[in-house]
């Protein structure tokens, strides 16, 4: 049962989930906020592709526009919605993220349509390749390669640049980081921009799977990102990556082991496993990490 096809499919699913999870955990690390509007940043990427196709942009420009749109919306929501309540309470921040989520869903609902829109992606997304007898969607290989590059870049940014140092420091001790002269708004904006970037890249592949986008497209990826980060450990991007791949692996194992009559209960099995896992290891797979100081 464990053949090349299974391995590649698991890696590609894991890659997509890892991207999703890292984008969520970067903001969580600094603001201690689970940003429930995160899924909407993916949805925005989907609508950006839809609109680019209408104006006839070339495919490479479409992809850039999609990622840029996610980053912009992520950046703007921080400034307009999260920043004013940042120093208030944790609850205010959390409720704000729900408000942003609902707001963005309704913007596209009113401005575009409540119904799904087709998202045309470049032809090579739907091509298949044959490797070692296994027929694989090229898309799956692309996401593995893209994720490897993106995570390598992110790792370089976090480890080798002063911005990365400041972000890791801020995730650990926010006030002390400010005492070093690092502006609070600067690291938070950076976190939202990077989070938006990851959501944009993941969003391209997410809508690429179904080929369509609708106002509620963001709900499922948000849930996956949230579960993956909780499983992997909320305290570090590494935990999020591990959580993403573990989630992808679990999902694929269930897909091939469950009998056909049970396959529609796959998510129920999935969540049951996650709940059981968290009962025994509530801190997630990767334990180490940040303290709990919150921005104030």
């Amino acid at each position: 049962m464990i053949n090349l096809e299974f391995v590649i499919n698991t890696l590609s699913l894991g890659s997509l989930y890892a991207l999703l999870a890292v984008g969520l955990v970067l903001v969580y690390g600094i603001l201690k906020l689970v940003n429930f509007a995160y899924g909407e940043y993916l949805m925005v990427a989907g609508y950006a592709i839809y609109l680019s196709a209408i104006v006839g942009a070339p495919w490479w420009a479409t992809l850039i526009i999609a990622v840029a749109a996610s980053m912009l919306v992520s950046f703007l929501t921080e400034i307009a919605a999260f920043r004013p309540v940042r120093t208030k309470s944790m609850d205010a921040l959390l409720v704000t993220s729900f408000a942003v989520s609902i707001f963005l869903q309704n913007v596209v609902l009113l401005a575009v349509s409540p119904r799904a829109r087709a998202v045309p992606l470049p032809d090579f997304f739907s091509k298949t390749v044959v490797i070692g007898g296994a027929v694989l969607p090229l898309r799956n290989l692309l996401i593995i390669a893209t994720t490897a590059v993106v995570l390598a870049l992110l790792s370089f940014l976090m480890k080798k640049t002063v911005l990365g140092m400041a972000m890791r420091a801020a995730a650990d001790k926010f006030t002390t980081t400010r005492l070093m002269g690092v502006p609070a708004n600067f690291v938070i904006s950076a976190a939202f921009l990077i989070s938006g970037f990851l959501a944009g890249v993941a969003g391209i592949f997410w809508v690429g799977r179904s080929g369509s986008v609708d106002p509620l497209t963001g709900a499922a990826p948000l849930l996956i990102a949230f579960i993956a980060t909780v499983m992997g450990g909320m305290n570090s991007p590494i935990g999020a990556v591990v959580g993403g791949f573990v989630y992808g692996l679990l999902f694929n194992i269930l897909s091939i082991t469950l009998p056909a009559s049970m396959i529609s209960y796959r998510d129920a099995f999935m969540f049951a496993i996650v709940v059981l896992f968290l009962l025994f290891r509530p801190e997630g797979i990767i334990r180490r990490g940040y303290t709990e100081e919150r921005v104030g």
Binding site: A166, A169, G181
Partner: protein, 248 residues
């Protein structure tokens, strides 16, 4: 008369509904080493937090080098030249010693002097050169205190504030910390020191303020304070300490 480098004028501050400072005034002149003394809860750390902008005073003002810095953000205040060595050291545990020092230099980074600054820190604290690539969290308490001080010095502060630098350290390391304060003082650095160990602090400072219940109870030169206040009774308990009243 010269104007003081730091002038704290009648600041009040609270944590939510709990009022912590009831009108603290103090002055630090350039080149002076000044101590804030007092028992836990007297308002020493709160005063430092108000100066660094971490806590916004509800009234009163903080003036530094002639400029009103009341309620400025911490990141702006450190750029003006006030660095804090926080209580409990607050080392970035997952970051290496090198990265901790690099962030320390964030407020006033200059490429040409950075290497020389590091070298100076290695001379002051040879242990940091040994541990340069290790995570700060793996250092001992004493080493972390050295790193916290070095991190603050990397910003080239005009005023260095130390919050309980000897807390939780062995007597030998405490000696090192006080020796260091003396040597920084000889270099002409202006220092504001918060310390529970009043007797040790009074050996190294020019001037001290004794705080109790959010107010300045007594102030004066180190010798004055030694004469006026029975330090042991303030710190070792008894009714005087409880009531915030001191023997004069």
């Amino acid at each position: 008369m010269t104007t003081p480098m730091l002038k704290v004028d009648d600041i009040h501050a609270s944590y939510g509904a709990v009022r912590a400072l009831h009108g603290i005034s103090l002055e630090v002149n350039e080149g002076e080493v000044v101590a804030l003394l007092g028992i836990n809860g007297a308002g020493k750390s709160t005063t430092l937090k108000s100066i660094t902008g971490v806590l916004r005073p509800t009234s009163g003002s903080v003036t530094f080098l002639g400029e009103d810095i009341t309620s400025r953000s911490p990141e702006k205040i450190v750029k003006r030249g006030i660095s804090l060595v926080p209580e409990g050291r607050e080392i970035f545990g997952a970051l290496t010693v090198e990265e901790n020092l690099r962030l320390g230099a964030f407020a006033s980074y200059h490429r040409d002097r950075y290497k020389a600054d590091l070298k100076e820190m290695f001379e002051l604290f040879p242990i940091l050169e040994e541990r340069f690539h290790q995570p700060g969290g793996l250092l001992s308490g004493g080493e972390q205190q050295m790193l916290a001080i070095a991190r603050a010095l990397m910003a080239h502060p005009k005023l260095l504030m130390l919050d309980e630098p000897s807390l939780g350290l062995s007597p030998a390391i405490t000696d090192d910390v006080f020796a260091l304060i003396t040597s920084l003082r000889e270099r002409g650095l202006t220092i504001l020191l918060v310390e529970q160990n009043a007797e040790r602090a009074l050996e190294v400072v020019d001037k001290a303020y004794l705080l109790a219940n959010g107010l300045v109870e007594v102030s004066g030169t180190a010798d004055d304070i030694k004469k006026k206040v029975d330090i042991a009774s303030v710190y070792l308990g008894g009714e005087d300490a409880e009531g915030g009243e001191v023997q004069l």
